[in-house]
């Protein structure tokens, strides 16, 4: 389990987190959402030990990531958004870094490269952006760490690759793994991410599973805008209304509408989900 307690963090004079507390339970694929610049990447960096809290604590199964102990580092992998352009093949790259990860599986790497349809003979700098991303994803997943953090993993992937991405991530997930996907492309990870964490400037607005969300919030499709909705949006054929779920009805979470509803009613929804 990842535990964040009363965390403060700042880059020089820019405050990023102010007294936030948050937990990530294992066995889940978390979706980390938030507007540009709220600190999604920074949070991932803090959890994997690339940054150190100013105040408060971050622990992963009781270990402090910023101590950078091998026993912790061998069980976590962070795939940043920026793509490396090393003058080497993905195969050579994974063989080089694989030695640091006890569960690294070269056969799995090959299988993933095949499933994701990446040309094995090419070097990173000869691959297209999307192919590079897929190669790095195959590398990351073949390390089989319990903690896997992906920053905007679907950026640059073509349409079939996005479906493949969902399949391989679903396959990766077990009772022991914690996957956190930071993204703006919520459509790409729809039905894959659950729970959802929504970050705001200095704050955490939501950390809830779909079951918890639909228990409190109802997503209603209607021919006109409904009163009392937290948020309404026009869709082809009508409106989607994000409503308080007063009658205990079941509905499907529309992540985009949810996000916009939370952004418009920060305190209300934060209190509602408490």
């Amino acid at each position: 389990m990842i535990k964040i307690n009363n965390l403060d963090f700042a880059y020089k004079n820019t405050q990023v987190f102010k007294n936030i507390s948050l937990e990530f339970q294992k066995g889940n694929i978390y979706g980390l959402l938030g507007e540009n610049g709220v600190g999604k990447t920074t949070l991932l960096k803090l959890i994997c030990g690339l940054q150190k809290p100013v105040h408060g604590s971050v622990t992963v199964d009781g270990i402090t990531p910023s101590m950078r102990e091998p026993q912790f580092l061998q069980n976590v992998y962070f795939l940043p958004e920026e793509v490396i352009t090393e003058d080497t093949t993905p195969e050579k790259f994974i063989q080089k870094i694989g030695v640091f990860y006890p569960r690294y599986d070269f056969a799995l790497f090959n299988q993933l490269m095949k499933e994701l349809e990446v040309d094995l003979s090419k070097k990173f700098n000869e691959l297209s952006h999307g192919q590079k991303k897929k190669a790095l994803l195959a590398c990351a997943m073949s390390l089989q760490t319990d903690y896997l953090f992906l920053d905007e993993p679907t950026n640059g992937l073509d349409i079939p690759s996005k479906a493949l991405f969902r399949k391989v991530i679903s396959q990766y997930c077990s009772d022991e793994t914690t996957v956190i996907i930071s993204t703006h492309q919520v459509k790409d990870v729809e039905n894959l991410i659950d729970p959802i964490v929504i970050l705001d400037k200095d704050d955490v607005l939501m950390n809830a599973s779909f079951a918890e969300i639909t228990d409190k919030i109802y997503f209603e499709y209607s021919p006109e805008r409904l009163q009392d909705a937290y948020y309404t949006e026009m869709l082809p054929g009508g409106y989607i209304n994000v409503m308080p779920n007063t009658e205990h009805l079941e509905s499907n979470v529309n992540i985009e509408a949810l996000f916009n509803a939370v952004m418009k009613n920060k305190e209300t929804i934060k209190n509602l989900m408490k």
């Binding site: 066995g27 479906a163 679903s170 039905n191 779909f210």
Partner: protein, 115 residues
Amino acid sequence: MDFNGHKPIYLQIYDHVCERILSGEFRSGDRVMSVRELGVELGVNPNTVMRAFERLQMKEIIATKRGIGFYVCEDAKEKILSEQKKDFLENEVPEFLKKMELYGLTMEDIIKCRV
């Protein structure tokens, strides 16, 4: 599989498994694919598939056996059909009747449609 926007995904997966039982792909006593296998096939969070399976178990459409995993119950087909029949009568028929009234259709008009 294409999910629609309105119905919770776990219920759509529930329906999906029911359809596969009705079509005869999964037969009584047969092992059903695991939560993980179905999750991968659909590209869906395994926890969501688990929720669908829990509901299938609660409705006694599938059950677990140690060492085997989930298998299809003896009278799964009958249970699914009777549930769908109930849903049809309670939800679809009233909707249908409302439309008949709106368009001024009689039972005779409907019977004429039967091939």
